[in-house]
Symmetry: C2
């Protein structure tokens, strides 16, 4: 069977997986992934189509239309990057910045840090705009930075899942456009859970993730480019370094330029799931989703406050609705609370990330998991775990 001269040694015995896969049922109420809608998961059982078949292009068209609704845009430049949110992140940076260009990065948690790292890897001149964990940038601070540096692009994370803050994006589109700056927004943990208007707010590029509010499995990064962003891409002096993320080519697979060329094999099952998740979002309606996430956020905090727990983000105007960061009170073993929730209820609650490790718990209320019952279970787990440590304030209705 081998080719001439190729040694065919004895084949080593299989050491890999045996039998049929089985996984425990978990309730993922951390910062993500959230549980996916079973209807969305089920779409992945459908037989594969070829990545260049017309029925598959139809599904890609449906996804783009669904994304236009989700992003609130008329732009034809929407697609899924084949990867998680990091794929969208790296795609925005590697397509919209040329080596040596100035890139102002709003750094108020792990995502700003990561974007700054990637910007530097791809040769941009990165200006870190630093903010302490738990706070966001004011319009005036951003205005000063943009007017001073006249950067090629400004990056901000709408909702930082590591610190639980929500960045107000008001007026930034206009500010950036006046200064020849592209506005790049990360909506990985917010899209679908809080208002976002790509066109009305003058956003130039945005990427998100599939596995949070959208309720699909990880592996697809919804991406948006404005006409200004595409103009920048098309007028680059250098080729984008990454072939995988080159939106001259990826965009052409998605029909951005009025043709269809093969770039890579679309992620067929994952895109079926995304098509289905976007259908569910259309059925639910964005206003209803935003209202639901806000309401359950309020319910969570009403319950947490009864236990004496406080938000890490002090200013309610800066507090994120989808990922809730809870201060660990002095003397409480934060890890024991997480372990209690997992051991008792198969319930995932997370600790901090980056500079917030040990200081906070993180509770996500996102997408398919955003239900009153799940909020109640999270509250019950906190109540019982704190009580076990003797750390529940003595109030009659809690005993």
């Amino acid at each position: 069977m081998g080719r001439e001269g190729e040694p065919i040694p004895e084949v080593k015995a299989p050491e890999g997986p045996k039998g049929v896969i089985n996984v425990p049922q978990r309730l993922l109420m951390g910062p993500g992934p959230a549980n996916a809608n079973p209807r969305v998961l089920a779409a992945q059982c459908l037989p594969l189509l070829g990545h260049m078949h017309p029925p598959f292009f139809k599904i890609m068209d449906e996804i783009q239309a669904g994304l236009r609704y989700l992003f609130q845009t008329e732009s034809k430049y929407t697609c899924l990057m084949s990867g998680t949110g990091h794929a969208g992140m790296e795609a925005c940076i590697s397509n919209l910045l040329e080596p040596g260009e100035t890139f102002v990065v709003g750094d108020k948690g792990i995502w700003g840090l990561r974007v700054a790292d990637i910007g530097e890897r791809f040769g941009a001149k990165v200006v870190h705009l630093k903010k302490d964990a738990g706070h966001t940038f004011s319009y005036d601070e951003l205005k000063e930075a943009v007017e001073k540096h006249k950067p090629a692009a400004l990056f901000l994370c709408q909702g930082d899942s590591s610190t639980g803050v929500h960045q107000n994006l008001s007026g930034l589109g206009e500010l950036c456009h006046k200064n020849g700056t592209l506005l790049i927004i990360d909506t990985v943990c917010t899209l679908g859970g809080v208002p976002f208007f790509a066109d009305a707010w003058g956003i130039d590029a945005m990427y998100s993730g599939s596995q949070k509010v959208i309720g699909a499995p990880p592996g697809a990064s919804p991406l948006f480019f404005s006409q200004r962003a595409v103009d920048k891409l098309k007028s680059r002096k250098t080729k984008p370094i990454s072939f995988c993320w080159d939106l001259n080519l990826v965009g052409d697979y998605w029909g951005w330029y009025n043709s269809r060329s093969y770039h890579h094999t679309g992620m067929v099952s994952t895109w079926y799931a995304m098509r289905e998740a976007l259908a569910v979002i259309g059925e639910d309606g964005l206003e209803n989703l935003w209202e639901k996430h806000q309401r359950l956020h309020n319910e969570l905090w009403a319950g947490l406050k009864e236990m004496g727990l406080e938000p890490f983000v002090e200013d309610p105007a800066e507090r994120l609705v989808t990922v809730n960061c809870i201060k660990v009170p002095p003397g409480v073993d934060w890890k024991a609370v997480i372990d209690y929730a997992m051991d008792t209820y198969n319930l995932e609650i997370w600790g901090g990330l980056g500079q917030t490790v040990g200081k906070i718990w993180r509770v996500g209320i996102m997408g398919y998991n955003a239900t009153p019952g799940n909020v109640e279970l999270v509250l019950a787990a906190f109540r019982e775990a704190l009580k076990k440590q003797g750390k529940l304030p003595d109030r009659p209705f809690l005993t």
Copy 2:
């Protein structure tokens, strides 16, 4: 619901997908994707796990063990890159070559061309080693190139799906090691269908795809690094440009360096599918898979030759087993044959790619689709389509 000062315009109505997804049943006998095993697709319905949960790490461990069997290696450096074969391709290049280093690329079809492009994007000094479509490199040609250029790496595609050739890898490991060269192999359309021995053949890096012989959906790229490859990665003078493909970090998520750090969110459903596909491969056994692919390749060609059709690759020693390239005879409308197969049987047969467009048909016999029945259906489609064009040689048993 909006943040202070953020304009909340009227929400545009959904224009996205309506109702439940439905896709036609297709038999994918082109160069890939092939149909996935339904047991593998079904694994994607299982509930999501968190990407840092111990039960998910167990699945990652199982995948790595299954990959070690599939690659025939003892190396601990195996993983899935989160993306299609292009992700593995870009990962090998961006991790193993530093800007300015020499990279000899065996270019005998579209994949060599693409690897050369990516090598140049990442700043390598690429030496194109060119071969006409339908032919492979001899050991002596490769020896001359490696000894002349002493490259940091040599790239070869084991099976080029655009031209249907199978590159003999015999002796190349030793040759490369003598010359301080890393040997990088593309096995996207061959792995599991033809013999491959990462350790015994002295391969340093290899990437493949999930959606061909492996029988899983597209979106996971099995990757292998030898100790020499990891040593090179660890002694780089520059950071790999891409964060997404940086195997210092991706490898640490997969436990290469005796720890586990978060790098990105693993593609949970897709990795479930890969775990299951690797279990199926272990049950089938590699020797049986290689034998089956060879046998069905022989059956296909016996049938094609009866119709007077000839292989594009003239030398049987260079002919690929998994993707079969068939010469379009003079006067035959190649497109009409493809359309006939699709219209009559929902059966996918492909034309050429790159320099072979219009000159060949491509028939894949891979993984879950490698069955005698499927081979017979392909033959029937050719027979009927050629007959319709009056191009079937007049032989009694075919009338």
